[in-house]
Amino acid sequence: MCSIGTKGICDKEKAHPVGSLHLKSIRKAFGTHEVLKGIDLEVKDGEFVIFVGPSGCGKSTLLRVIAGLEDASSGSVQIDGEEMISTPPAKRGIAMVFQSYALYPHLTVKDNMGLGLKQMGAPKAEVEAKVGKASAMLSLEPYLARRPAELSGGQRQRVAIGRAIVREPKLFLFDEPLSNLDAALRVNTRLEIARLHRSLKATMIYVTHDQVEAMTLADKIVVLNAGQIEQIGSPMELYNRPANTFVAGFIGSPQMNFVEAGRLGDDEAKTIGIRPEHITLSRESGDWTGKVIHVEHLGADTILYLETDVTGLLTVRLFGEHRYAVDDVVYATPDRARLHRFGADDRVIA
């Protein structure tokens, strides 16, 4: 129990603060160019939410509006139920990790991490303790006295993450934090972020281009397109039940096959979506006859591109190694239970 005498111990045991976020019809225009067209979103305490969407759809802008670095043209941002629209970034209880690391070049790693607390007027011992804790978490202790220029890319990004942790924010904001790292480092840092989310139980909002990051990290994925939310849901919801053709095409790799419904004898729907992994191939018989036009051997997977009589170009993903060659004639059969049917408005038909 916390009594006055044991304050020091209680501080250590105090859980990391968490906060909820509530966005109401956020709009943002640069001049006449409308970038965000009414965003409504609810993020609960401790959730890991990922924004995905094509380049230029407004993900970073939305994140900057939440951080207070950009004023929304209209709408409301609430953190923990408190209206934040006219609160400066430093007072919103947030921390942000940028794609370009954005470390202060003239400060040491330690000062980089401690600056925010120092600006808040925290006593030196507290800054010292929190920086120590965060650097231990991220194994940054050997580098505390170095400047950013003397670190590798992965180390720099860890410092940037450490700088965010030290502030003990209610809300972590990440803007494509891993996209400047090479593939191996990206996996490591991704694990690190997942671990961090588990141990801090903090609310995190994360922007990425990378499907794997989105699917593996998120509790909830928000798919954005041209300044609007297309769908919100858990990774598996988006994969199994995409609400429209945009989400269906965006989530999953290789991309879902879209076939004109008429060709398959379905007059009610306009488009039928079939994921490449939900098609079986055979050399003897099947629904559609096709010719192999290209094969990609990935080891764990084999991706085939077929030209079939009914569907036209069709991507098929087979698990494991397969000995198909270009110009082979094959028969493809879709898994009828896993077809996605979309109507004339591109929305899914139940």
């Binding site: 900057r64 951080a67 670095l69 400066p88 970034p89 430093a90 007072k91 947030i94 921390a95 942000m96 940028f98 794609q99 370009s100 690391y101 954005a102 470390l103 202060y104 070049p105 003239h106 600056l115 925010g116 600006q119 808040m120 700088r163 502030r167």
Partner: protein, 279 residues
């Protein structure tokens, strides 16, 4: 990264060209300094010769030092130049920051307006400036010169610095904002250190015309107490007789402070000029 090797022949030509340019650039300076140590006859008879035992003479320097308050002139020049550079850089950098960082109505127009001074010489406004200074009671003060030179230096400073400031990462400034730095702290502690090479470049380009200027000292501050070196040296150039020993000695002395300032800035300057070209 491995550097592409230049063939020795090409590199030889490059060095030859650079050496040639150095000689051409240094020749008048060296000539001035040599001749300032010679007596008058030697200056005219053998202008290109080094001072020898017979021709060596310090008469130029003694004349200069006896004539008027030459150290006072030096001090004036130095004060005017350093203070003007300081203000031109400070205000120039502030304006550049506003232009490059904030979106506001008329940003572009304001930028153009502030840069126009590069093309329109400030001397065109001499009459109005003089009237203004008379009205403000600033004639024959160093303040008058400092004001004019600061104004003269601003357009170039704003133009160059705003271009450089645009290249400072937005993320860095935003990180500062999230960490609770004020806009002033972001300007002074994050942005200025990053554009230091550009500041040095601007400082050098601003300094030289100020130091060498004769026009405004003559018009705004010709009094004995406020004379600058350039103006002070003019007493040796008469309509009929010119005291060449003294002129050369005065010029040699006047080169010194510029040289010192230049050496202070030059390390930064070289980085400023080659920024972007060499990554």
């Amino acid at each position: 990264m491995s550097k592409a090797r230049m063939s020795p022949l090409r590199s030889g030509f490059v060095h030859l060209a650079l050496a040639g340019y150095t000689v051409i650039a240094l020749f008048p300076v060296v000539l001035t300094i040599f001749n300032s140590f010679k007596d008058k006859n030697a200056i005219f008879r053998t202008p290109l010769a080094l001072p020898t035992a017979e021709t060596f003479s310090l008469v130029g320097y003694t004349t200069v030092l006896k004539q008027g308050d030459f150290f006072g002139y030096f001090q004036n020049s130095l004060i005017v130049t350093v203070v003007s550079i300081f203000f031109a850089l400070l205000f120039g950098a502030m304006a550049a920051f506003a232009l490059s960082e904030y979106r506001f109505r008329g940003n572009m127009l304001m930028g153009l307006y502030l840069a126009i001074g590069i093309m329109i010489p400030i001397r065109l406004g001499t009459v109005a400036i003089l009237q203004g200074m008379v009205a403000a009671g600033l004639v024959n003060t160093l303040t008058a010169l400092i004001l004019v030179y600061t104004a003269q230096g601003l357009p170039l400073a704003i133009f160059i610095l705003s271009e450089f400031m645009r290249t400072v990462s937005d993320d860095l400034k935003n990180a500062g904002r999230i960490d609770g730095l004020s806009e002033y702290a972001i300007f002074f502690r994050l942005v200025l250190p990053l554009v230091r090479p550009a500041m040095a470049t601007v400082a050098v380009f601003t300094m030289i015309p100020i130091w060498n200027d004769l026009w405004f000292p003559l018009i705004l501050a010709p009094g004995e107490a406020t004379k600058t070196v350039t103006l002070g040296s003019q007493v040796f150039i008469g309509q009929f007789v010119t005291n060449w020993n003294a002129v050369l000695a005065a010029l040699s002395l006047a080169i010194l402070p510029v040289l010192v300032l230049y050496i202070i800035f030059s390390r930064q300057l070289i980085r400023g000029i080659t920024a972007g070209a060499v990554k």
